[in-house]
């Protein structure tokens, strides 16, 4: 069993794709949405960039142009630099675990289980809850009291959110719990698109469960993998609500992410200019990472 089967099936489908896109509606159908997007998202975002080169406090009229000083400050800012480390660790953990768990869940509820419809709803349900609510909920689950919450359930004695060496992973766990169902849904969509004929053919060729997954399902899941990795990476890099509600960056600076730093600089310290500079760096960073990711992941996509 080799991916050749998959390769052979490609031209027919690709042709169909093209026919679909030929019948696609003209681009100006998107114009109203684009205008709204430009007015509500693009214009404010771009006009805000100016502040990254000033020392504006966020209120009042006092403002002077400081050139690249804010970016120089960022390089020497221990706290911001530390938060970049935290952000990357969180992102890697979330991307790996959330998608791993999501894939397992998807494979599980894709199987012919009696209660699979119900299970899908249950696994997806945390996604629709507001992240802040989830964080407050988990604050109770992460109660350090050995007889309460997760500690009580597992018989542990861990200070989940209060121990600086654990807190970051506790937040990652919380995020994974909430969004694994989201990855699951996308993987499920991918799984539904794997033609049964290929599985039948592979079975006739004598492929076992794992081999069928490895050589049939997995290559055809590539588009789902691309979208899941990209969405979870962007989500991880931008992570704010959960951290803010659960630990507010603490204890100390142990769970400070780039988003919480830029928030604090703007609204707590009154350094709007500097905060905008941090935001700009974050936005460029996220864009760069996503583009590289899409480029590489797209190359390994095949279709059935």
């Amino acid at each position: 069993m080799t991916p050749v089967t998959a390769g052979r099936a490609r031209p027919a489908h690709a042709g169909r794709r093209r026919r679909f896109s030929a019948a696609a509606p003209p681009w100006f159908f998107a114009a109203p949405a684009l205008v709204v997007y430009a007015l509500v998202v693009l214009y404010p975002a771009v006009s805000g960039v100016v502040y990254a080169f000033t020392d504006w406090s966020g209120i009042g009229q006092d403002m002077s142009f400081v050139g690249l000083a804010n970016f120089r400050t960022l390089l020497g800012d221990e706290q911001a630099m530390g938060s970049i480390g935290n952000t990357l660790l969180l992102t890697v953990a979330i991307v790996a675990v959330q998608n791993g768990v999501g894939l397992l869940l998807a494979l599980g509820v894709h199987a012919r289980l009696k209660s699979r419809a119900l299970l899908r709803v249950i696994f997806f349900s945390p996604v629709v809850v507001s992240p802040v609510m989830v964080a407050f909920l988990w604050k109770y689950i992460y109660n350090p009291d050995p007889s309460a919450g997760l500690n009580g359930l597992l018989g542990l004695h861990v200070d989940w959110l209060g121990d600086p060496s654990v807190a970051l992973w506790s937040i990652a766990g919380m995020v994974v719990w909430q969004y694994a169902g989201y990855s699951m849904v996308i993987f499920l969509a991918g799984l539904e698109g794997v033609p049964r004929e290929l599985h039948e053919a592979a079975m006739i060729d004598g492929a076992g469960t794992f081999q069928r997954f490895r050589y049939v399902t997995w290559p055809l899941l590539a588009p789902a993998v691309t979208i899941n990795l990209m969405l979870s990476t962007i989500g991880g890099l931008k992570l704010f609500d959960q951290v803010f509600a659960a630990t507010n960056g603490g204890p100390g600076y142990a769970t400070e992410t780039l988003s919480t730093v830029l928030y604090k600089q703007a609204f707590v310290f009154g350094k709007f200019g500097y905060s905008t500079a941090v935001a700009l760096v974050l936005a460029l960073f996220v864009a760069a990472v996503s583009l590289v990711q899409v480029y590489y992941l797209r190359r390994r996509e095949v279709t059935a």
Partner: protein, 434 residues
């Protein structure tokens, strides 16, 4: 293959429906989060609507006084909304920055936080209240909290103190007859409580602002009792956190932890948990600000079980000083179209009977007192200090909004054993100089 085609079309339909659903959901949430500005204004004709945004601690007195004001002046409607400290500071700053400040809003006395009087007044966003009669009676020691360059920008009903909120029943059970008056007595009391099987001091250090209260309770004795002009020297660059009694205060803080006088995992414990521990007798006391006494009382089965005593930060009872700060107040937006009506409401708050009502609701010591002023019995033990052995909360004299959050963070790091007192004080000094 036709199967596939149908599948694809179906999923596109589902997709569109899903997007429609999402849009509807987004619209619904957008509507539900819009602040209710009109909901409570119905009825009055040609009413002036004054919008107030306050901090949660202000809800009880503000609702009470706003209702009273509206009865006496039916042409004015006051719509108030409240949020916890951290949230209200940010949302207000955003509104001020965007130029749509509410007519009245919470203002923190003095300097040192993002919504403090000095920071906002400097930006020209607070209305000058100096013409109002009550401003003439502000006690001299409190003037820096109310005034910038001799003009008054904030109304506050009085002062609150930081001390130990304790559970009288737990103290009795542990055989403690009287609150301690020196540091060694304080340690002995903690020891007795520990032996009685309760956490001597409940500490909710996961809630950032709670972290600072123990240092604030000790620093008046370790710093200001020895050098009442410390703030001025620090502003002039002649004194620092690292070379002052701040070091002693931090050492005392950590000594309490080393002796096991805190609950387990203070960094994972919130203010709400701290409150309930003391109120339900699982802990003996909590070092807290008197303004939250009502929260403790609400959580207790019998409110009379709770009282307060000053934390003795020195071994000589006569050199014990206490922190007594002006409570969070409010100001009027300088640029609002209802500025005059807003100022008139503040003038009403400045009347002695309003001050009395406000102070009573939050267990504060009224700004000015007359025969009908009441002082909460729980804070009576602080009164002997308020005359000449009390200092305002430290952050009110700090030059920027960064020192305070750094203080929160270093305390959490110290409690977690991830930092040393040297590093902590150095970070605070660095933030002070920014």
């Amino acid at each position: 293959m036709t199967d596939l085609l149908r599948d694809a079309r179906l999923s596109r339909g589902q997709f569109l429906r899903m997007m429609g659903g999402l849009a509807a959901a987004a619209a619904a949430t957008a509507c539900s989060t819009r602040p209710e500005t009109t909901a409570t204004t119905g009825g009055g004709q040609a009413a002036t609507e004054l919008k107030f945004i306050g901090v949660a601690d202000q809800k009880t007195p503000m609702d009470q006084l706003a209702a009273a004001y509206q009865t006496s002046k039916p042409s004015v409607r006051i719509t108030a909304s409240y949020a916890p400290t951290d949230q209200v500071q940010t949302s207000l700053r955003t509104q001020l920055g965007a130029g749509n400040a509410p007519d009245l809003h919470v203002v923190y006395p003095g300097n040192g936080s993002a919504m403090s009087m000095t920071q906002i007044a400097k930006a020209g966003l607070l209305a000058d209240l100096s013409a109002q009669a009550w401003t003439q009676t502000i006690p001299a020691g409190f003037k820096p909290a109310f005034q910038l360059d001799g003009k008054t920008y904030i109304f506050s009903a009085g002062s609150s103190v930081i001390g130990a909120v304790y559970n009288k029943k737990v103290f009795e059970k542990a055989g403690i007859e009287a609150p301690p008056t020196t540091w060694s007595e304080f340690l002995a009391v903690c020891d007795k409580l520990k032996k009685a099987g309760v956490a001597p001091i409940a500490l909710g250090a996961q809630t950032p602002w709670v972290t600072q209260l123990i240092t604030y309770a000790l620093v008046p004795s370790t710093v200001y009792a020895k050098d009442p002009a410390f703030d001025d020297k620090q502003l002039a660059g002649q004194a620092s956190f690292a070379d002052s009694g701040w070091r002693d205060a931090m050492e005392m803080y950590l000594e309490l932890q080393k002796r096991g006088f805190f609950n387990d995992n203070p960094n994972g414990t919130t203010f709400e948990q701290q409150t309930s521990m003391v109120a339900t007798g699982k802990a003996g006391m909590a070092i807290q600000v008197s303004a939250v006494l009502p929260d403790f009382r609400k959580a207790a089965s019998s409110p009379d079980d709770l009282s307060m005593f000053p934390v003795p930060g020195a071994d000589d009872a006569n050199s014990v000083w206490i922190p007594a700060g002006v409570v969070v107040g409010l100001g009027a937006s300088a640029k609002g179209k209802n500025a005059e009506e807003a100022k008139a409401f503040i003038d009403y708050l400045g009347k002695q009977e309003s001050i009395n009502a406000w102070a009573k609701a939050i267990a504060a010591i009224p700004l000015t007192q007359d025969a009908s002023s009441t002082i909460d019995p729980a804070v009576e033990s602080f009164l002997p200090f308020t005359k000449d052995r009390a200092v305002p909360f430290m952050d009110q004299r700090w030059p920027n909004a960064e020192v305070q959050p750094v203080h929160f963070a270093v305390i959490q790091e110290l409690l977690a054993g991830k930092s040393t007192i040297d590093e902590a004080l150095k970070k605070m000094d660095e933030a002070y100089k920014k």
